[in-house]
Point group: D2
Chain length 354, copies 4
């Protein structure tokens, strides 16, 4: 129940540091009797893994997952599923120069002051590398949600820096290095990223995630609401600074007569609610939007201090994503899946299966 676990009935406990021996997680509460192969998990990890294009970090990690428990003869047994990913390409010397200084925008400063000790290699525990176990756990959740309720979850990039990406089709998302739902804009994105990389700088992004076929009734008011739990996991993703659901910040300027989604015998007429009313799913698509800040690891010189509070200038070399938002796409899909399965199981527990 401490800070590295998530979920009540489908509970994920995450461990590891960027350059330690291994990262991984324990998934406790997966229903028994589901076919599960390591390839079900590997395929999601491969979408997130580094080194897949020149626009993401060049660290070479295969991110091969090993299932240590909870699966017997290819079927889940209801016992904890432990997943292990060894760290292979850990060049710790890259970080020796910043072990004593706090990189602006990074967690170095806050970890140091909280714990009095930290693993500085690659950001240690605060590295975005620790999203890999979340993706692995989410792969299990996605499979169960699809097989049980036909739920599908898709994320995509809708904005890169100042460049808006008009939505065309989900079909394109896995066909370009940006998870863009629009192929025509890809050259513009590539040019922008090439320039950025040359400058040693980084940029923010906006990510959308949509869950379809979610049954009505998931979420427990008044604190463990479905929207609250989605906001929790999404804001907890490295670099996220804002989370919105449905009409989001646009609701501020809306009249009640515009915002409230009317209902007909055939269903809702609009979806300003983003599929959640009173913290409980309505059966409409759940729409979430995220703001992801620019990567803090840049080659541009920045002012900072060291552990002795002396002024220093920091440049971060090493292998970094110039837009950490790109690789966020498979991660946020997994996060959505984890929240949905947890609430689906809780719903079955309290209300039975209808």
């Amino acid at each position: 129940m401490s800070g590295n676990s998530l979920g009540k009935l489908f509970c994920v406990t995450n461990f590891g540091e960027s350059h330690g021996p291994a990262i991984g997680c324990v998934v406790d509460g997966c229903p028994p009797g589901m076919k599960l192969d390591h390839l079900d998990i590997q395929s999601e990890l491969d979408r997130r893994k580094p080194g897949t294009s020149r626009h993401v970090t060049q660290r070479q990690e295969k991110d091969e997952v090993e299932i240590l428990s909870g699966v017997y003869n290819g079927v889940t047994t209801g016992t904890p599923i432990a997943l292990l990913i060894r760290n292979i390409d850990a060049r710790s010397k890259d970080y020796s120069n910043i072990a004593e200084a706090f990189r602006p925008g990074h967690a170095d400063y806050s970890y140091w002051h909280k714990y009095g000790v930290r693993d500085p290699r690659g950001g240690g525990r605060s590295s975005a590398r620790l999203t890999a176990p979340t993706v692995a756990a989410g792969a299990i959740a996605k499979k169960w949600l699809f097989e049980t309720y036909n739920i599908s979850i898709s994320a995509y990039m809708s904005q890169l820096g100042k460049i808006s990406i008009p939505f065309i089709s989900y079909d394109y998302i896995d066909k370009n290095p940006f998870f863009s739902p629009n192929m025509e804009i890809v050259p513009e994105l590539e040019n922008y990223m090439d320039l950025l990389r040359k400058n040693g700088d980084s940029i923010g992004a906006r990510i959308e995630v949509v869950a379809n076929n979610v049954p009505v009734g998931l979420g427990e008011p008044i604190y463990d609401r479905l929207d609250a739990d989605i906001a929790h996991i999404m804001m907890g993703l490295n670099a996220v600074k804002a989370v919105s659901i449905g009409s989001g910040f646009d609701c501020i300027g809306q009249l009640g007569s515009e915002h409230g989604d009317e209902i007909t015998p055939g269903g809702f007429k609009s979806n300003n609610s983003g599929g959640i009313l009173g913290g409980i799913s309505t059966g409409q698509p759940i729409n979430v939007s995220l703001a992801i800040k620019p990567t803090s690891s840049i080659r541009v010189e920045r002012n900072s201090v060291n552990k002795n509070n002396e002024a220093v200038v920091v440049q971060t070399f090493g292998r970094h994503d110039p837009c950490v938002g790109i690789r966020a796409v498979p991660i946020v899909e997994s996060m959505m899946a984890i929240i949905l399965i947890d609430h689906a199981l809780r719903y079955r527990g309290q209300c039975g299966i209808k």
Copy 2:
């Protein structure tokens, strides 16, 4: 640990329905030895209570709180503090016409489908009235945070519908019915609200909340991050559709060299992070912004269905806030306090007191 409790060491369990006998909460984990009087709590409830101006609901509830336990001779004992607020002005007949129909934008639809039964009076469990116990619990948290760390928390309205409210001073916030930090704009806000009320419609709002003097080190990565827990409680507030921290959605268009807050021996040079890095507080002010949707209870006619999925037209009479965002101000301050005290206690537990 079920859906109506919040917090791990400072744990709030909320109960009640809008028109049931009473609402309230149990606060478990408050440190012993703090002076606490019911007036400490009442003063915060009075800021939230209905009927204080013509711009909020005219329901007359004194919201008088009774401390049932956990305080002896005016001092907290470390045992659970139960707080009780009786419902007085519950005119249930106002709601008889909508007991069978689902009001657009309301939780009627989702509650009905989830539980198969619901208390329709005044929204029952999904009413914003249930924020009163949260405010009461937050009053205890605020007092402890101020006495222990000198933490102060202030919220205010920064936008009403399309009207932006330029920040002038915290001094004005409690001097006008809108919790506006700007007195000059108040007449414009009043005119707008008067018109809106005449039309029987409602409008959204944007609320800012700031916590000062938060010590460095609060928050537990990688899931119980401070920003994640703030997003959780804030998105869980009725009508909230978006939560942002620090530069929020603006971070999308920022370069890394702009966004990452530089540090000098005298402190940070900017606060794009909103006081949180890697999920842990930095000691800077924590800045959060919320989008609050327009009230769903409006007199304007809307299309909907009843329990038999037959088309109906719904108008909601009764006594409602035309901008539920107004009364959100004291609530979000309380919510911030609850998150901060919980993490402060957890920090003491794991890391000791420095």
Copy 3:
């Protein structure tokens, strides 16, 4: 989630002090759609309430329960059920003499050292009076378990001091002041208690509790085992010093070939396991036995110290149970019910309903 809550899906949060304004609890997670009347709860409270015979405390508390929430039109709604019991007959002056001294066997010493402050009136938070809310919550659990699975739970006294009480029939349990399953021994018990009361002393007791018709499959290894959770709640009852399941301490001297219950196509041939194997229910009766220590509040003079660690002599007057084990019977039934419903709901959540 703090120390005064119990259960994951059926979660009970207890509050109150013996002589404060009120005691009570919030039951979060009760399934919706069950008929529930305050009399369902009152009938269990009446079995536990003080003053029912000369062998228990003469404090006069009607223990009238008020349902504050979670029930609408006589049916549970799935939202938290708050239960309130006002303290009426609180003669705090009885305790003024021991506010500064620590009564041997009581929690005075440990509460004082832990919290630095305590409510001494009637034992404050550590009073056995706080079992009343547990009984109230258990009444709800018992009703649901009986209606859903036909589960019945019965407890009785099997030993009073050195006097063994041979089991005759469940029919007698509610027909004598000792919850004895044997009427013939009642005069002996009464004589013993009368003598004891005259001497101002107290005595221990042994209580058995049996749950029938529990479905196979409840319990979650390896930590939230059904036997572990039963031991937790039972050892947490005031004055309990030992808990055993099935053959209990007798298993030490058993051979494996004696202890392991053989199975036939018609069922198990014995029940040394007490209905639980590997932490999961087997469908056999669950048998639990408890040792309850003698009441610590006695008129006999005892040596102790006060807050300044000065030697004092303590006698406890006031109105006390000379055998606190007597009134434990309805309490332990309720406790068993709370554990069983929580695991039944968790089982439905993870495994579905078969």
Copy 4:
């Protein structure tokens, strides 16, 4: 928070099956800044590991632990400590004959009915082998408790079957294969065990565990009491059927004037309470006693049924402990340590450090 995690601030999540690829745990919440080497953990595992004498299972497992995270440069960082133990000597063919039948006394029956699928190899998840990760986690807890509070925890065997083992000295416990505090009785124990092994049968045992130097104030009434949490973890240990604290079942026959421990300015005069009053530690030694049932895996023929509920005769060959109580000694020490550290951290959180 699901069934395989334990503790609130020091949280252990256990995974693995007896004959799967690996077993292990994640320890979340260990305070930062403590020196920790894998040998600190290995030394405790070596006390528990199989094959150390002819009186325990002959399975050859080195139980070598690998620290995967949470330790940097030999010091804990406050982040999760993942511990991995590979299964080496897994002869699954030994179990092929019982994959379809339910061994009397084993969890086969209840797992099968709960999950509908199970890993039968070596008992799968229900194997006592899964106590190894608990021992590993407990080794960390023990180290912290000793360094912080000078707490020491010792367990020993006090009875083997019908043979009582008079206590002589803690010094002997680690000098004989039975963890007996009495060397003179060892030959008698050896003879008994040799005979038992020859007969293919098994026997129960009684284990005592004592914690010294526990500070006053640990435990959170009224549900997360220290005695309740100790009972929970101890009853959750495979094969335990009874747990008692202090005078245990003997308290039934005691008068209040005998049982309640008197206090003098120099301390308590006796320890019937077992170091816990009102669920909170008193500073006296905490004494717990456990009944451990005979091993269910025996060569003696037993009646049972298979998955089709057809009568079968079961004999369990393979390598088993004839008295599982022997190897329980290091396990229960670890369990006590886990409970104490969790409550020590919670105490610091709520009450600060005095």
